[in-house]
Symmetry: C2
Subunit: 404 residues, 2 copies
């Protein structure tokens, strides 16, 4: 019997009525002859409410306790979903991250999965029951409750699909799939029927918010086909699959953008081997999620190093840079949080030279200045002023003829 992992996010479980709708869909999937494992996020705005409560109580929030607090949300959603399934005659049983055997490292608030044991889930499936698993959470090798950080529930779903050898992992969300650009900015954006893991990785990494990067990485590494679709319309969405040699490829698949990052520049870094390594090791140790890195050529024995980080990591990153700059005799450290990234993603780029030239020309024509550039084989990213990013997305979507 095929095994499907179905993941439902917070908006999909927004209230009692939505929980019942999800239960209906799980029951239907089962009637159609599948075994199902369900992964749930916390209901609606629960997580935000808990964060607000913590803020009301205390400024000091030890990460271990923050994890304990936030993992209460999935307990609620999985328990009530099991009840709704029971009412439909489906024998469902809830499992916390710990009970599901999701073993993580000890990094609270952004733990990494080390191992998925999954014995209790296999046992439940063997007894024809539907396991409903708390997303986003695990148990550390120290037996403490951990959370997986942003996009954690998607990661839980993919990790379980891989561990259980599922045929498919369905990610239910409040949009109908992955689009050629953000439909709020480009109303003519198309829903993509099928993208490769590589494209999806670059879409996620460059600002497409439908799937978290790490869950796509996990899916690619473990060959888990993903289907991103809506829990409101239940219509087919976007398949994320292995790239097939026969797959006809558009040159450019999507235009993505990201306004959540900030730029840091360390000026006049002495051009001594190993200094960049020390800087980025120190940033990694501070858990700053460095994204783009640009180092200009050396002039007069010094160089400027720029990089982007999520805006939440900016204070920690500045601290690291300022400490190191003093130590190594570099110049000042500049921060800029009014930037945005705009990217083109497409597996077809590999065999089509000149895409970057067209991209830069298009931006220039619209008077949009490019501040940083970074390219991979299937992606080109430019950093621009945040206030011009919507214009940039619209211009590029038109220039590459991605409209419906």
């Amino acid at each position: 019997m095929p095994l499907v992992v179905q993941k439902f996010g917070g908006t999909s479980l927004g209230d009692a009525e939505r929980v019942r709708a999800v239960a209906d869909h799980v029951a239907r999937t089962r009637r159609q002859g599948n075994d199902v494992v369900v992964v749930v996020s916390a209901m609606g705005r629960t997580t935000d409410d808990l964060i607000r409560l913590a803020g009301d109580v205390s400024v000091v929030q030890p990460p271990r306790e923050l994890d304990m607090l936030l993992t209460s949300g999935e307990r609620v959603s999985m328990a009530v979903l099991c009840m709704a399934l029971a009412e439909l005659g489906v024998d469902a049983v809830s499992f916390t991250g710990s009970q599901a055997g999701i073993i993580t490292d000890t990094t609270h608030t952004r733990a990494k999965i080390l191992e998925v044991r999954g014995d209790r889930l296999r046992e439940a499936l063997g007894a024809r029951r539907v396991p409903v698993v708390a997303g986003f959470q695990g148990v550390s090798t120290d037996h403490d409750v951990t959370t997986l950080g942003r996009g954690g529930s998607d990661t839980t779903a993919v990790a379980l699909a891989a561990a259980l050898g599922a045929d498919l992992c369905e990610i239910y969300t409040d949009v109908t799939g992955v689009f050629s650009a953000d439909p709020r900015i480009v109303p003519t954006a198309r829903r993509l029927g099928r993208v490769s893991f590589e494209e999806m990785l670059d879409i996620a990494a460059s600002g497409g918010r439908v799937l978290a990067l790490r869950s796509v990485e996990f899916a690619r590494n473990h060959h888990v086909p993903l289907h991103v679709r809506s829990s409101f319309t239940w219509e087919p969405g976007t398949w994320v699959v292995e790239e097939e040699p026969s797959m006809e490829q558009a040159v450019v698949t999507a235009v993505t953008h990201d306004t959540s990052e900030a730029k840091v520049t360390v000026v006049r870094v002495p051009d001594t081997p190993g200094l960049a390594a020390r800087l980025f090791r120190a940033l990694a140790d501070a858990n700053a999620n460095v994204d783009m890195i640009v180092q200009n050529i050396s002039v007069h024995g010094t160089t400027d190093i720029s990089f982007t980080v999520p805006r939440v990591d900016l204070p920690a990153s500045l601290q690291v840079c300022e400490d190191l700059a003093q130590e190594i005799g570099a110049g000042e450290v500049l921060a800029d949080d009014a930037i945005a990234k705009v990217s083109l993603v497409g597996a077809g780029m590999r065999s089509h030279p000149g895409i970057s030239a067209t991209m830069f020309e298009t931006l220039a024509t619209h008077g949009i200045n490019i501040e940083m550039i970074s390219t991979s084989t299937i992606r080109i990213t430019c950093v621009v002023r945040a206030e011009r990013v919507e214009d940039a997305v619209q211009a590029l979507h038109r220039a590459f003829e991605l409209d419906v």
Copy 2:
């Protein structure tokens, strides 16, 4: 260093401000030279909200999932209390029932504690940290999450105090102690400075709602001194301790009442040995919490058996009785949910005959009819009409000169 277990109920943790007040008190207790273990309930009305949500989602509520749902509440309160303690510079660490080593049987929604391992708590105390433990919950021998039922957090606190060899278990609540009668009914009721375990058992069993019966039993069996006090005024409350031979005893300590029960009568039960045993075994198997039992003398080879149960157990109890009545050829089964119990409790009764006569006379003088009577060495309970119970409490409180 003395070890104190402090338990805080839902109203004590009603909002962010209350959480900070509790943290202040814990920190102060610590500064005064004590080791502290804290046990918490869910904040304010959380549990009621969760029960309402479950009702909105589904009529069918498997007990295992109900336990999973309800145990989310303590995770929230213990995490935010740890944050508030951290802000005061107190190194606190939260533990779920499972992490605290509270091992229970597999009876969901009313599990019994089989064992308290407590290794992690001892380790935390050894490191001079304050363990904050989720009350009301444990983990079953099947590794499922369980709850301890009504008064479960008190039971957690007492069980931990016993397991850790604590010097004292403080139960913080929204009243200032145990009273000679419910102050809402008898405004002149006195706060009792000190009661014996035996009196407290009978007070709890006969309707005193301050402490749950099982937590008092547990405290008595493990010789854990209890101090019931207010988290709003922080003033000393009522001590529940071993009875000392020198303790001067009032004849009657308190008048209690209980309006949460219903009465069931099985009419014309054949007077055959073993029938009563079968009836009460069947009721126990249905988890009905039978309280008072009265069997009249046999007339014409049959007898009437009456008993009281919590009103919530009435439907299940009636089913059991009707099935058995048919099987054994008894008469009809009568239910009455408009009753109340009124009781006198006092260790001094043992050596003072005539208390019951005074009680019955007092009720008769006030025109209150007695429907059932049950006595123990330190308690007398009468079942009366529910509508007359407040009159009964007031009359008895006056008759036995319990007023301030």
